[in-house]
Amino acid sequence: MIFRHIAIGASALALAACGSSNPDLDQTGAQPDLPKQRQTLLPTMTIATPAGWNGEAPRAPAGFAVTAIATGLKVPRQILVLPNGDILVAEGMGGQDAPTVRPKDVIAGYIKSMGKTSVKGGNRVTLLRDTNGDGKPDLRTEFATGLNAPYGLAYADGNIYVADQDAVIRFPYRDGMTRAEGPGVELVKLPSRINHHWTKAMTASADGSKLYVGIGSNSNIGERGLDVEQDRAQIWEIDRQTGAHRTYASGVRNPTAMAINPANAQLWTVANERDELGPQLVPDYLTSVRDGGFYGWPYSYWGQNVDPRVHPQKPAMVRAAIRPDYALGSHVAALGLSFVTGTGLGGNFAQGAFVGEHGSWNRQDLSGYKVVWVPFANGRPSGKPQDFLTGFIKDGHARGRPVGVAYDPVGGALLVADDLSNTVWRVAPVRP
């Protein structure tokens, strides 16, 4: 109880001191402005507390309509569109095993919980089917249940793969199935000790032979000790047949969503960067992932910017760190990534990727809380991110928080999971 009073009094003090960002800094694109590090006495924590939609919906650009195609879900995270147009939604909440090791964990956990849903994670995958093609699903089933905080979803060659917080599970799949037969088969165990960042993002390679799984770090910046960071902050490449795995990339603090770029079959990821260096450090990013690449965590960020909170430091690792391709902005918490295929959503949205931004806690002025569009040309980002779906914040309260995004080539729409209002939103061009 006394912690809470200390926290509130002191965050007021810290807020008064600093924590607000400078709007003149441009923190998106290939060359983001990086201000000096600023560690405040207390980390700035500003959470948008929840409010209802009251019949309203997020805002999309002119010419698009937004509808809720599933409500009352149990913490929807990532979405997968199957070849026949059926939609799978992973629902769960993990990371409960991370122990409280400092007084701070008690306080920060309490404050962050104020911005989350009170619904318990479903530990299931829900299937949605639109049988008459009107864009509104009319069949809803539990495809798989009894899972352990499922997050990443992938389809390859007659199999559906679900990345629980501790393992990849395979479900044999036939076209038209609405419910998995049996509990699934474990393909490979995933690192799950502590599981500070528990979300296991996943995608299948273009040829379907490999699965890529993102394993987030076990801390913000090594404050649980570097021993527990073995096999963390990595992207694994898993052989789909044998379950054998190797480290594909490392130093990626929290790879929260991955996708294959349809232009060149390259693996891309969004990643959440470290906190508590100031409101405009460190930008979260979108990047192509190089085989064997090291992306800096924990020693440095955005290439060679050294993080003084790591001890002992490793200059050789700092020199080796790859600079990511494209900054999305600091603390936006990118949790969704989906490339469009074919002609995409048409017009300005024909070539590029959508990114779901869950929204900030570690700065005074909120950032993220929207879905942005990153235009691509020749397989690379070709311009600044543009707001695509907004309106999640109203009067300082969060009505929703976007997580996974999925381009639906069958229905010609973008699907967005919202884990605060427990909704899946569908954004589609208005038919004339």
Binding site: I2, L41, R102, G222, E223, E276, P298, V310
Partner: protein, 128 residues
């Protein structure tokens, strides 16, 4: 009173160990020790303030006042130190953390020393 006198110096020791070894558990120990010192030190401070306010003898009031001020200063240094220790990794201690630990240790020990000698003075006076 015994809590801040014991816990602030313990936090100083575990800080020194952390700076020497970089083993993260030591800074976690410090954080809890400082929090404990603040929690129980807060009660001690409250009690000390009440006793000062209620004291009738001017000398007793002055002695208790000194203890209260020292305890209050130790508590404030400890509070800032708790914030410092909430930083992640190597930044949780640093020069500022060690300085604050030394400061809160000295102030807590001084409060304890004066408090005890005050008790002796009272005992001597009572014996007369």
């Amino acid at each position: 009173m015994a809590f801040p006198v014991a816990l602030f110096p313990s936090a100083l020791l575990s800080d020194v160990t952390y700076v020497k070894t970089a083993q993260i558990q030591w800074t976690n120990f410090s954080a809890w020790l400082i929090t404990g010192a603040l929690l129980f030190g807060g009660f001690a401070l409250l009690w000390s303030a009440i006793v000062t306010w209620a004291a009738r003898e001017p000398m007793e009031r002055r002695h208790n006042g000194v203890v209260t001020v020292l305890l209050a200063l130790a508590w404030i240094a400890g509070l800032f130190n708790a914030f410092q220790h909430s930083h992640d990794g190597w930044a949780s201690v640093g020069t500022m953390g060690v300085v604050l630990s030394v400061l809160s240790t000295i102030l807590a020990l001084a409060a304890g020393w004066v408090g005890q000698s005050h008790g002796r003075v009272l005992a001597v006076e009572a014996g007369r």
